[in-house]
């Protein structure tokens, strides 16, 4: 269990660093484009970076799903929990239900990742751009794969708790 915890924390740390770097990159590049387009271009007639708009859109896409993997790590996904709230006091039942919903969520993510993989295999290409569309599309199976790993780890913790093992509380972001 300790090893799993270490892997879990390490994975989340790596995701956090990547997210922060991507966010800063996005911010700097987007701001650079605005400043260039509105202040420098009218004076010099030189256009802003042509590849930047494509990169900004795709990095936003990757950043968004990567944030989703971190939301899975911290158990911060938006959910309805209308019924689960009723069972929150009954620890064993609550754990059992959590195992059930996580298992189904893993199954759904496996299908999403598989769909993504099929799309990548089609190797869609474009006439121009920094990367080919299929190279950006790798983000879908890769990041939903990461969500599966986080969900599976949470599932193991819940199962261990159900079997009576002492499991640490999920860290807060």
């Amino acid at each position: 269990m300790r090893l799993l915890r270490r892997i879990d924390r390490g994975l989340a740390k790596a995701e956090e660093i990547l997210l922060f770097a991507m966010l800063l990159g996005l911010l700097v590049l987007a701001a650079f484009q605005v400043i260039w387009r509105n202040l420098v271009q009218p004076m010099t007639q030189r256009p802003p970076l042509l590849w930047a708009d494509e990169v900004l859109k795709h990095v936003t896409f990757v950043l968004g799903i990567l944030g989703g993997t971190l939301a899975t790590h911290y158990d911060k996904h938006i959910s309805l929990d209308v019924l689960s709230r009723l069972f929150a006091q009954r620890k064993r039942l609550d754990l059992g239900l959590r195992i059930l919903v996580r298992s189904v969520a893993i199954f759904v993510c496996v299908l999403l990742a598989r769909g993504g993989l099929q799309q990548v295999r089609m190797k869609e290409t474009a006439f121009e751009g920094v990367l080919e569309p299929w190279q950006w599309q790798i983000a879908i199976p890769a990041l939903f794969g990461l969500i599966i790993v986080h969900l599976a780890l949470r599932l193991v913790y819940d199962a261990a708790a159900l079997l009576g093992a002492k499991v640490k509380e999920q860290p807060k972001p």
């Binding site: 605005v34 936003t60 968004g64 019924l83 972001p173």
Partner: protein, 447 residues
């Protein structure tokens, strides 16, 4: 079999399965019936990478979180107090104004109740406002700025509406988020104004002492908050003068707020605080983003199976007037609002109702505003309104106390909802006027 699978997905969603998984699961069940290949889910999700407005979600959220972590709340409260504190019930009006400002950036994610509520609740109590009023005021103010730009729910509504437009709707023109920003201003002011009036009356009734108006204090407060107070105004002007797009505005705002909070006010440390704030903001962004991904799949299925068209056919059998459609819509949205959070509600419901709303002649911008006002009320509606739980946790009060406290505020908000719903001019008419002023030419409100 399909019905059974759909029922299982709904049950799992109610049992707390992440909503993105429930929605994607629902879409997959749907695709199974239409024999659509699995790859369609990825194709739909990847369509998001082509949306230029998506960049606004991480950047505005980041800016909002930076302001929430810095001492922006105290500075905004000081300005509002210096400006409005002399009114009867002044501090309560200050609470409304400060919360409205703050929610525009934090998107009613509960941060407003924690940040501003925590700051003002003890002061309201000290000044002699009744406890029940204070709790109701802060709980209902937690989502009050949603109609003002650049609120995140408005952006998401715009994106989802744009993506779920039927071909005939899209032919009529694109839904523009910048116009939607303008459309929210008048209804938002009516909402804040109505609750302010109630606060003034409460102040008079309970003889709450007023603070004298002082030009010196107002000047000092404005000077202290000079880097933050003008942000929404600058944003609006720059967008509507056509100097920058909404996406560019998000980049400029995020960079500006980062520089202001780290290097001018020095409330946050670039390497000590900013990575933590960025992580918290990106977790929210991620949670919303994966739901948008799933909603793309679900919407594609809805369109493929003509679910919105069938829903309209069903409604058309029982409803033939626009006013009755709006009544049914409001009741439906109030129920949705108390069961779902605002982002999920937008993502699930908007694609379903666009076709019906169009057939009943409801303007898309008017529909959006009705939608958001309903969901604002939904935040307060027992038994599952999110603000009730956040305030209960923050102020350590039983849920029942909070439910009683928000009732008068809810009543007033429903009154405003009726006004906004049945006087479309408030949204659409004023939108045309404001757009004309900003753009310098006659602008049609409808897309």
């Amino acid at each position: 079999m399909t019905t059974l699978l759909v029922a299982a997905v709904v049950l799992l969603a109610l049992l707390g399965m992440p909503l993105f998984a429930a929605m994607a699961g629902g879409a997959m069940v749907g695709f199974r019936t239409t024999e659509t290949p699995l790859i369609s889910t990825a194709i739909e999700i990847f369509r998001l990478a082509a949306q230029p407005t998506m960049i606004t979600i991480p950047l505005f959220t980041f800016a909002g979180y930076l302001m929430a972590e810095a001492r922006t709340a105290s500075r905004i409260v000081r300005v509002s107090r210096a400006l409005l504190g002399w009114l009867p019930g002044g501090l309560a009006v200050v609470t409304l104004a400060a919360c409205a400002f703050f929610t525009t950036f934090t998107g009613a994610s509960g941060v407003t109740i924690i940040a501003i509520g925590g700051l003002l609740y003890p002061v309201l109590e000290k000044e002699g406002y009744p406890e029940r009023f204070n709790l109701g005021l802060i709980t209902s103010s937690g989502s009050i700025g949603l109609l003002f730009p650049p609120s995140l729910p408005m952006i998401i509504y715009g994106i989802v509406y744009g993506l779920s437009q039927s071909p005939e709707l899209a032919m009529a023109g694109a839904f523009e988020i910048d116009k939607f920003f303008l459309a929210g201003i008048a209804p938002g002011l009516v909402l804040v104004g109505t609750l302010s009036l109630f606060s003034v009356m409460t102040g008079i009734k309970h003889n709450v002492p007023r603070t004298a108006f002082a030009w010196g204090e107002l000047g000092a407060a404005l000077w202290e908050a000079k880097w933050e107070v003008p942000i929404p105004v600058f944003l609006l002007v720059m967008i509507f003068k056509g100097w920058i797009t909404v996406g560019e505005a998000a980049a400029v705002t995020a960079l500006y707020v980062l520089v202001v909070e780290c290097f001018i006010y020095r409330d946050l440390k670039l390497f000590g605080d900013v990575p933590r704030v960025a992580r918290e903001a990106m977790i929210l962004v991620g949670a919303i983003f994966v739901i948008i991904c799933a909603a793309m799949c679900l919407t594609a299925f809805f369109i493929e199976a003509d679910v919105p068209g069938r829903l309209y056919a069903l409604l058309d059998r029982y409803i033939d007037q626009r006013w009755s459609f709006l009544l049914v819509l409001n009741i439906f949205l109030l129920i949705v609002g108390c069961l779902m959070d605002i982002f999920s509600a937008i993502l699930v419901v908007v694609p379903l109702i666009t076709v019906s709303a169009q057939h009943f002649g409801v303007d898309p911008y008017h529909l959006g505003i009705i939608f958001l006002v309903n969901l604002e009320i939904g935040y307060l509606t027992p038994p599952f309104g999110m603000n009730l739980f956040i305030a209960s946790f923050r102020f350590q009060k039983p849920l029942v106390t909070l439910v009683r406290a928000v009732l008068p505020f809810m009543g007033l908000m429903i009154l405003v909802l009726v006004v906004v719903t049945y006087i479309p001019w408030l949204t659409v008419g004023l939108l045309a006027i404001i757009a004309k002023i900003f753009l310098g030419k006659a602008a049609s409100a409808a897309p």
